[in-house]
Symmetry: C2
Subunit: 152 residues, 2 copies
């Protein structure tokens, strides 16, 4: 009896501790090496057909947040060298945008070029060809600044 409860608890803990993300789209941009300027890169985000309705209204936005996967990286580092560091000092990975993170999620604000069916064309996404997309989010000052009140 006791063992059975323990087993249930450990299953519950596992459910709370992990979240399985499903890929909703794939990056198609032909970029396999770091380019000179990611801002100039145009990418097609090819969504599964089940997400076409979820893209409605996106064509009226100028920009959108993209949450994507750093699919080339394995493992993570607690401390990393910041991209613009002038010396060899390290900072914690949670105080950085390094890709060597416990959860390999990237976050970038990109320009929307156009939306056609299941394909969203964007400019400025710093993700390599084939990267998985997990979410798009409207830019919204209520969530994206520390100035304005917010209710939900």
């Amino acid at each position: 009896m006791k063992r059975s409860y323990q087993k249930r608890d450990s299953i519950t803990l596992l459910e709370n501790a992990a979240l399985r993300l499903r890929k909703v789209a794939t990056v198609v941009n032909g970029v396999t090496e770091t380019p000179e300027d990611w801002h100039k890169v145009t990418s097609k985000l090819v969504f599964g057909n089940e997400y076409v309705d979820a893209l409605s209204g996106l064509d009226r936005l100028k920009s959108v947040w993209v949450i994507f996967g750093f699919n080339r990286h394995r493992g993570w580092s607690p401390r990393v060298r910041p991209r613009c560091a002038k010396d060899d000092s390290l900072v914690g990975v949670f105080a950085s945008r390094s890709s060597k993170r416990p959860n390999r999620l990237g976050l970038t604000l990109v320009d929307i070029v156009n939306v056609k069916g299941n394909i969203v064309t964007v400019r400025g996404l710093d993700a390599f060809d084939g990267s998985p997309i997990y979410d798009l989010k409207n830019q919204d000052d209520d969530y994206d600044s520390r100035q304005r009140p917010r209710n939900r």
Copy 2:
């Protein structure tokens, strides 16, 4: 032989299509119902001890992006009613910040109050007590605006 290859391919596809996120911290704020103003809510983000080094330097930042889980929600809606909508029109969930998303990830910029050991105290996180935290990211104009060039 052919069957064996097919099996391997389907396993690879599964690996590419899904990402298993691990909870790195838990929200402790006592909030169980939507408050009048999330901006006034102070939350403790209690990290696992294995992440203390990864928090280094966070105390020098004013604000940080939090990626967390909408742990109360199941299922998603392709179209949702925007929070500030003046009529009954719906938009695609990817053009919104609704919590009814295919992947139940929230994204909010919060103020850092202080960092002590494995606990980061923040203000303005719109997450209920017990929500899982998956990532913190430094605010960085190279990723968070569409103005400046970016290299990686």
